[in-house]
Amino acid sequence: MAAVLESLLREEVSVAAAVRWIARRTQSSEDSPGEAAVLRSLRPLRKEFVPFLLNFLREQSCRVLPQGPPTPAKAPGASATLPGRPGGPPRGGRGARSQLFPPPEPPSPAAEAPLARRGGRRRGPAPARERGSRGPGGPEEGVGGESLPWAGARRLRGSGSPSSPSLALCDPPNLSNLEEFPPVGSVPPGPAGTKPSRRINPTPVSEERSLSKPKTCFTSPPISCVPSSQPSALDTSPWGLGLPPGCRSLQEEREMLRKERSKQLQQSPTPSCPTPESGSPLPSRTGSLTDEAADPARVSSRQRLELVALVYSSCIAENLVPNLFLELFFVLQLLTARRMVAAKDSDLEPGPGVLESVGSPLFQSIHDCVFFAVRVLERQFPVLSYLDKGTLKLLAENERLLCFSPALQGRLRAAYEGSVAKVSLVMLPSAQAVSFQPETDNRANFSSDRAFHTFKKQRDVFYEVLREWEDHHEEPGWDFEKGLGSRIRAMMGQLSAACSHSHFVRLFQKQLLQMCQSPGGAGGTVLGEAPDVLSMLGADKLGRLRRLQERLVAPQSSGGPCPPPTFPGCQGFFRDFILSASSFQFNQHLMDSLSLKIRELNGLTLPPHEPNDDEGEADVDWQGERRQFAMVLLSLRLLAKFLGFVAFLPYRGPEPPPTRELQDSILALRSQVPPVLDVRTLLWQGLRARRAVLTVPWLVEFLSFADHIVPLLDYYRSIFSLLLHLHRSLVLAQEREGEMCFLNKLLLLAVLGWLFQIPTVPEDLFFSEEDQSDGFQVDAVSSEYGLDSVPVVDQQLLYTCCPYIGELRKLLASWVSGSSGRSGGFVRKITPTTTTGLGAQPPQTSQGLQAQLAQAFFHNQPPSLRRTVEFVAERIGSNCVKHIKATLVADLVRQAEALLQEQLVAQGQEGGEAAQLVESLCSQLCPHGAQALTQGREFCQKKSPGAVRALLPEETPAAVLSSAENIAVGLATEKACTWLSANITALIRREVKAAVSRILRAQGPEPAVRGERRGCSRACEHHAPLPSHLISEIKDVLSLAAGPRDPEEGVPPEHLEQLLGQLGQTLQCRQFLCPPAEQHLAKCSVELASLLVADKIPILGPPAQRRLERGQARRLLHMLLSLWKEDFQAPVPLRLLLSPRNVGLLADTRPREWDLLLFLLRELVEKGLMGRMEIEACLGSLRAAQWPEDFSEELATLFNLFLTEPPLPEPQLRACELVQPNRGTVLAQS
């Protein structure tokens, strides 16, 4: 590396050639023979150049950044510089290695103590001194572990050893001393998980480091990885930054804080711990430091910086670095560095010449840092210009940037003003339940009533658990497992049948998607809690309020620029649910279901995007597509994340297997297991179809949960290899026709960069890939278009998928305090950059020439036309089916009903077997189903053109319009007829069956209920007394009559009359009358009649008149008769009048008066309410009952009397009876 740098500095080699060399491109003719010769000689080192460069920069910068925000800790690939480091040994021979470390640079590998290595992915924790030097406000937890890798070097140079770099120069570490590098040989290759070592440091172990905790995740900064600090170190710090040495209390507080944090971390069930909390330090935290002004004039060795910046930028541009945004973050850190740590003069003395410069510190002052950063940023402008508006603003307002490169600042400002990329990171979890899905949640989809019932219960339990989680999960001390675990398991225990599992999993998955998928998906409900407050504010204020809320609600930090995979927000519920349920069946069903859904969503197709479209129109159209893509992508990522989580759950552990043998046996075992989802094929297909922008982001989510072994498996190794090739190929600067769009690339770079930093992904993976040049010729099937070339990704989606990009903004915000830029600006349009090859032929299909013509037709029209036509066809086709159902099928059902009625009448209400009836009816009716096709065709013919016309712009040419209409008709007809011809018979059958069972049921116990007279008259205003009130009133009378009652209790006679009057009204109104109420009213009215006949109603009044007057009783009976005759629609149980119990009421009245009963019986007959025969039968059975002797006699007389009555009594006879009230009694007594 140093050799290369030196060659560059000596101008033996041009930067371009060097980068070409690094990128392993074939040597181009541009390289001069001299260059080629130099480079060839360095060939063995090529692979290790980039890691070296990155580490070099980190180390060089450590004096500047100690107090800065978390440095992207992983100096990627440092391991590559190491002798025999796992994974690397076969390639990087020792000899090469020693060449690698020519005098100038040995300190870097020597920087870290081996123990520290174990702690973190090579970002060993800083020695305490360093930390102490950060100053009181220095957010240790934010910074601690971060700047370390290179920190060691500093210490070596600056602090302890009097020897300046020159010492190191002549005293390279003895790399071959095995004692000094114990881990080397013993560590198995294929470093997994917590890397035992990335870099082996020959320097002695410092005391403090022994306390460093095992790393939990590489960049996860600070917290977990910071070793407990030794305050004493503070005192000795040579770079005390002017702080009072040893602020002990502060240290103690920090220590406590750290302990508390690590406790929380341990509690967190996330396998890879770090909670996103480190965040960038707020300005206030560093407030005690005075920023050093950066001055372009005081930059020390411009040429050298320029050169390194160029190489570095080129590496970034060529995607030779694993994580683009990590590097940007680093550069911004340099830009915003506050102070240079004081260094010894000797350090700062510039070498006499350029040649020596490699040896002297690269950054000798803040000015150097800023200069370097600005140079790099200048070259990264294209990327910067695609960042969100907020970041652009902060960049454009950065005074250092303005000072060092007004041109860049101007471009940034312009980009800012043109940017529309406002990004909101607010997550609004909306806990809405999955609505009932009639088509799947139906009883018919369950094996048994029991299973159905269980599922219903489960659904309720599930939501109960969910609600409880929502209410409590933020409470301190609440524990998911303790609170809900047993309930969840009990619920899972009930899911016995496989079918219930799949039902539940469906619900689970839907709820998951609904709750977690989209941030701010529900646009309208931003501040759901206080709508009234919001409405009081104007739109302007509302916007501000939203921004404020965003600041309050958005997670402060996503856990550094490279956070480990986590389950934020609601996702935590689902993860904990899976963990708590710990049900094998559930997990299996869930994986099945997730895989299926992923496959389905992964097949998303968007209509081709026409770049030539009229801009505005296309943009409007395109919004929908883009939203759809974002939805699908986010859903996919979510599903894949959970799939990865569940699939690798059984294999996950904090540590990689301890020994090589164990690992080999595990590998042998695991390689037998087929992947849960064939992601390799999907990835391959995605690449071929140029849909990487959809496939890769979810694949990354899936892989991020892989365990330590996974990347070693052949299957997954090949996937990683593919991804690496892809990563390399995504050169942002190349924007060729048909290439992937910029933001699409940026998204892929971001997610891939993130993936490469995941702890379980072997560190050497990125740099060890040997044959990067060959292979990645995915012969993109020249499909008409691929999603990759369609601008589907916008900043919102980018930031949503990769919230860690927001760290850039936070870093800048922590630098810039106050804001001066004005908001607003012009709408910047992201215009499509690709064209689809017009020549591409649609694949030959069976649809034949017509289909091809239709395709060709659409091809020449705006895509909205095609969408419209397809949409219309889809809807009309669907409506057509419904139309047939409502017309033809409904008619057939009516016929069936009529036929059934006939049959029932013919068979005397018998009916027979329901199944038989259905069969015979269907055999008669189903042939008519054939009409459905003709009718369907007519329907589509009639409806489609209008819809197409309404939806297409008016200026659409007539020919185009009519073609579109015809195609719509054709497609709709095809859709409808396909369905109808397959299903019409079954549909008719089902409907007829339903109708038959309905009729038979109605036929059941109360045939008379099927009244034709339902409903009250038009004029009715529904003021009649309520049935409930009437029943209650009548019940009171009945209970008075039945007793026991107090002496003063009784019913006023007029009340009875009023009651019957009201009953009449209610029966006429019927608005509120339900059949059971009417039946009870009928029964009560009969009871009332019996009481009247027996004179059993206690009447209110003086004791002498406690009986109802005869005439009054008759009048009331008349009212009742008329109600029975005219108003009741329910059957009145009149036979009860002659039940032994009611007639028995007469038994204990003295003297017994039979005339009312006789009167009532006669009226019943006359009004046709009861037949003579019926009454006779009742009377006959009455005589069979046991009565007192005299009563029996009187009953017999009554019977005779009734019998003697002429069957058709003449009017005058009745009249005469009415005026002779006592006749009955007389007769009976005679």
Binding site: D441, R459, L1026, K1035, S1039, L1040, A1042, F1072, H1080, R1141
Partner: protein, 279 residues
């Protein structure tokens, strides 16, 4: 009219171990003349039901049943016309209708070979003239007709009230021009649990979005709120999302659970239902 918690507590206090008879209700009305009979009866009924739920088991032990039956037999032997069964129920603090059922069941066990089915018993309670023993028929009838908290008539009244409120609610919805699906339509669509109405287009009432409405038509005490919430409302929420709207004679309360509980729809005449507007 809104009933305060204190008033409610006072009423409930008066109902401790009071038999569910016409007389008790009359006394209650005299004590709280400002409350409507419907409210009082509803509270009475709920309080009494809570009481019965607590004590139900002890009346259904074999010994208890046997002793009640013997006391009944002795009683009617002395005087068949006296309200033996009713007094027995009042004495042991049990609902007359339920006591009648116990005795009837016991009686039928003795007189029939096969144990009586539930439907036979129910039918006899509805129509005592089917009871083979005339004296028992009268006793049973007396019990059912005097019981203001249990029995077929009370059940029917409750059912009728529920139906009436549903009709009122439907009218209100029609009047406000709100499109809805009622229970029957929902059931036809295959919903397993159905609220009274699902609004096809949600509306806002007092700032709350209403998706569905369930009318309970009964007094909403805390206990019944809780029970309904558990048994029904969450089920609806689980299926239809968001809100609930309860009608009830009195108090108004917004529960903390995301369900809007509103009571008394007479007031609703004035409530502005904000329709969903197409923006």
């Amino acid at each position: 009219m809104i009933l305060t918690k204190a008033q409610y507590d006072e009423i409930a206090q008066c109902l401790v171990s009071v038999p569910p008879t016409r007389q008790s209700l009359r006394k209650l009305k005299q004590r709280f003349p400002s409350q409507s009979q419907a409210t009082l009866l509803s509270i009475f009924s709920q309080e009494y039901q809570k009481h019965i739920k607590r004590t139900h088991a002890k009346h259904h032990t074999l010994e208890a049943i046997e002793s009640y039956y013997q006391r009944y037999l002795n009683g009617v032997l002395k005087n068949g016309a006296a309200p033996v069964l009713l007094e027995l129920a009042n004495e042991v603090d049990y609902a007359p209708s339920l006591m009648a059922r116990i005795i009837l069941e016991r009686f039928l066990q003795e007189h029939e070979e096969t144990p009586p089915s539930k439907s036979v018993i129910n039918s006899m309670l509805r129509d005592p003239s089917q009871i083979p023993d005339g004296v028992l028929a009268n006793q049973v009838y007396q019990c059912t007709v005097n019981d203001c908290c249990y029995g077929p008539l009370v059940d029917c009244i409750k059912h009728a009230i529920g139906h009436e409120h549903e009709v009122l609610l439907r009218d209100l919805l029609l009047e406000k021009n709100l499109s809805f699906l009622d229970e029957d339509q929902l059931r036809a669509k295959g919903y397993d649990k159905t609220p009274d109405f699902i609004l096809q287009v949600p509306v806002a009432v007092e700032g709350h979005i209403i998706h569905w409405i369930e009318s309970k038509a009964s007094f909403g005490d805390e206990c019944s709120h809780h029970a309904y919430l558990h048994d029904q409302f969450w089920s609806y929420w689980n299926r239809c999302s968001i809100e609930l709207h309860e009608s009830d004679p009195n108090i108004k309360r917004i529960s903390n659970s995301g369900l809007l509980v509103r009571i008394g729809f007479q007031q609703h005449q004035n409530v502005q239902a904000h329709p969903l507007l197409w923006r």
